[in-house]
């Protein structure tokens, strides 16, 4: 017996196909760099460091992994723990201070609030390479540079990430004013309103912020290169530079063993991918649990 689909069902099937086709097409584009990383990790040193082909001619994956894992400078557990410490300090600082600042800009009246905000936004446009010099000099001359990664996270506790303030502001702006008024009438303090109403209503943005900071900390090459010198303090970013600089010998051009770099990059990516797969579930749930917003 032939199964007959209802028109509604058929329409839904067609719609599903319409979603899947672009999903798969973009997925291919998105996955290509990963594919390249994996095949580079398989290549032998000679091939990987000289040819960027999309199909490997040699197979040395296990040798490469062994080489990376047994390299005396490659203490991955330590580097990961260090990175997590920096990540925790940065994320905690930023989510607390930026969400408060974002809330202030979204909810409260203040003279020329928008002008202040545009000036704040404008500051983040000045390229960090130029502003970095005086900050670096300050960190070194006060001796803060070598203490507990202070240069890497201290700014986060002063809500200096204007993008985050902006992000939080835009989300908090969507809270209906009536909720806040109602809470005030109920005698809630301002901080309590923030904590009990604004934060739960906007859980996705906190999840997004944590995720962005994880990746930001994890993939930040500039900060560690500038401020972290002791080998015992190395962060995950250093795990890749070890191999990038393996065959450096003066001068600006040098041989880079992309096979080892790829293996190290792939290992470094594991926690990021795991976190994202885990977080995106949280991300979805955090929203579906919010009933009152609808």
């Amino acid at each position: 017996m032939k199964k007959v689909l209802s028109p509604a069902r058929r329409r839904r099937n067609r719609k599903t196909a319409l979603v899947y086709i672009p999903l798969v097409l973009f997925a291919i584009v998105a996955i290509l760099p990963l594919y390249y990383l994996v095949i580079t990790a398989m290549k032998s040193l000679a091939e990987a460091s000289t040819q960027a082909t999309m199909f490997p001619h040699s197979f040395a994956l296990f040798e490469n992994i062994r080489f990376v894992l047994t390299h005396p400078d490659y203490d991955v557990v330590r580097m990961f723990t260090n990175t997590m410490a920096v990540f925790a300090l940065k994320t905690l600082g930023t989510t607390i201070t930026c969400s408060l600042a974002g809330y202030a800009f979204a909810v409260y009246r203040f003279p020329h609030k928008n002008v202040i905000f545009i000036i704040l936004l404008a500051t983040m446009m000045i390229p960090g390479e130029i502003l970095g010099i005086p900050i670096y000099e300050f960190m070194v001359n006060t001796g803060l540079k070598e203490i507990a990664y202070i240069p890497l996270w201290i700014a986060c506790w002063f809500a200096t990430d204007v993008f985050m303030i902006f992000l939080f502001k835009q989300f908090f702006q969507t809270i209906p004013k009536a909720y806040i008024e109602a809470a005030r009438i109920d005698g809630y303090s301002e901080l309590r309103i923030f904590w009990k109403i604004a934060v739960p209503l906007n859980r996705p943005v906190f999840v997004t912020a944590i995720l962005l900071y994880f990746i930001g900390t994890y993939n930040d090459l500039y900060g560690p290169a500038l401020y972290v010198s002791n080998q015992s303090d190395w962060l995950m970013a250093n795990s890749i530079t070890i191999f990038e600089n393996l065959y450096r010998s003066g001068g600006s051009s040098y041989l880079v063993p992309w096979n080892y770099v790829s293996v190290a990059s792939l290992i470094a990516m594991v926690p990021e991918v795991l976190l994202f797969s885990f977080m995106q579930k949280q991300f979805m749930e955090s929203v579906s649990g919010v009933g009152i917003k609808g």
Partner: protein, 309 residues
């Protein structure tokens, strides 16, 4: 009489809000002074000197640095124009890609979690791999794209990143891969739209386009605005992609020389003109400030304030 009374009450309420504002945003204002204002002030002072990175005693040169940038320096104009072109092209591309992908990922179909993870990958993959892949695919002789074009009988296949004529355009295309954060922001916003709204629209028989135009777009407009601002700034400040593509110096033939790269080269390559680079930073700052101001003005026409659902 009554009105004055009301104003008084309102003013008292306002003053209270001013206080709350300072409580909540105070630390941000302090951070701004410490980490931005003071360094910026120093940069401003530098920009009136001929200080080099290794120079011992800088000389005060007045507006010379600014005048030189505006009247003499051909690369200043070239790199600024290229940055503007890049920001516009890449901005549109990234905005469309990230919104489209976020909407796809917001679909409730089977296995969407896996797709979300895959789409997230370009965001965490090191730049060298991304650069190498696209250089491979777009290689004029051996790349996949030109092979396909050849197969379809295209005679003069583009030289992509090898020719100074098309290198900037190629870089704009590749920059579309930078959708990561913007896609997440859109996704977070889309997640906040209650499904009931669409259900109601479905019952009314609204078309997909109409639903997008009348429900999705207005409801995500605050995030759209955020992303437009961020994309503009990202495009103008874009550094790492151009650095990788152009071997750090705008290769080929200065065609991928974006303004931040030129500024960086001025300060940190011979002859290390830090003072001049600081003046360039300031002029650049004014350009972006104007663009952001313009963005804020335009936003009045599409951003819904107090989107209460």
């Amino acid at each position: 009489m009554e009105k004055r009374e009301l104003n008084k009450i309102l003013k008292r309420g306002y003053r209270k809000e001013y206080k709350y504002f300072l409580w909540f945003a105070g630390i941000a204002l302090l951070g701004f002074v410490l980490f931005y204002f003071l360094p910026i002030l120093r940069t401003a002072i530098l920009s009136f000197t001929d200080r080099t990175i290794f120079g011992a005693d800088p000389r005060f040169v007045g507006w010379d640095n600014y005048l030189y940038a505006l009247t003499e320096d051909a690369l200043f104009k070239k790199s600024l124009t290229q940055s503007l072109v890049f920001a516009a092209g890449s901005g549109v591309l990234v905005l469309v890609t990230s919104l489209m992908l976020a909407m796809l990922l917001n679909a409730k179909v089977k296995g969407i979690g896996i797709f979300r993870t895959i789409y997230f990958l370009p965001f965490i993959i090191p730049a060298f791999a991304v650069g190498a892949v696209y250089k491979n695919i777009l290689n004029p002789n051996t790349g996949l794209i030109n092979r396909i074009l050849e197969f379809f009988g295209v005679a003069n296949a583009p030289l992509w990143y090898v020719s100074p004529q098309s290198a900037l355009l190629t870089m704009i295309l590749i920059s579309a891969m930078g959708f990561g954060v913007k896609m997440l922001v859109f996704l977070a916003a889309l997640q906040g739209i209650p499904p009931t709204l669409y259900e109601v629209a479905d019952i009314e028989g609204a078309s997909a386009f109409r639903k997008f135009w009348k429900i999705t777009l207005p409801l995500i407009s605050p995030m759209l605005f955020l992303n437009v601002i961020m994309i503009t700034i990202d495009g103008m400040k874009s550094f790492s992609l151009a650095f990788v593509m152009g071997n750090g110096s705008g290769w080929p033939a200065n065609s991928t020389l974006l303004f931040p790269i030129y500024m960086f080269m001025t300060a940190f390559n011979m002859p290390f003109r830090l003072g001049y680079a600081a003046a360039m930073a300031w002029l650049f700052f004014l350009v972006i400030l104007a663009m952001t101001g313009l963005n804020f003005l335009i936003s009045r026409y599409y951003v819904q304030k107090d989107v209460s659902v």
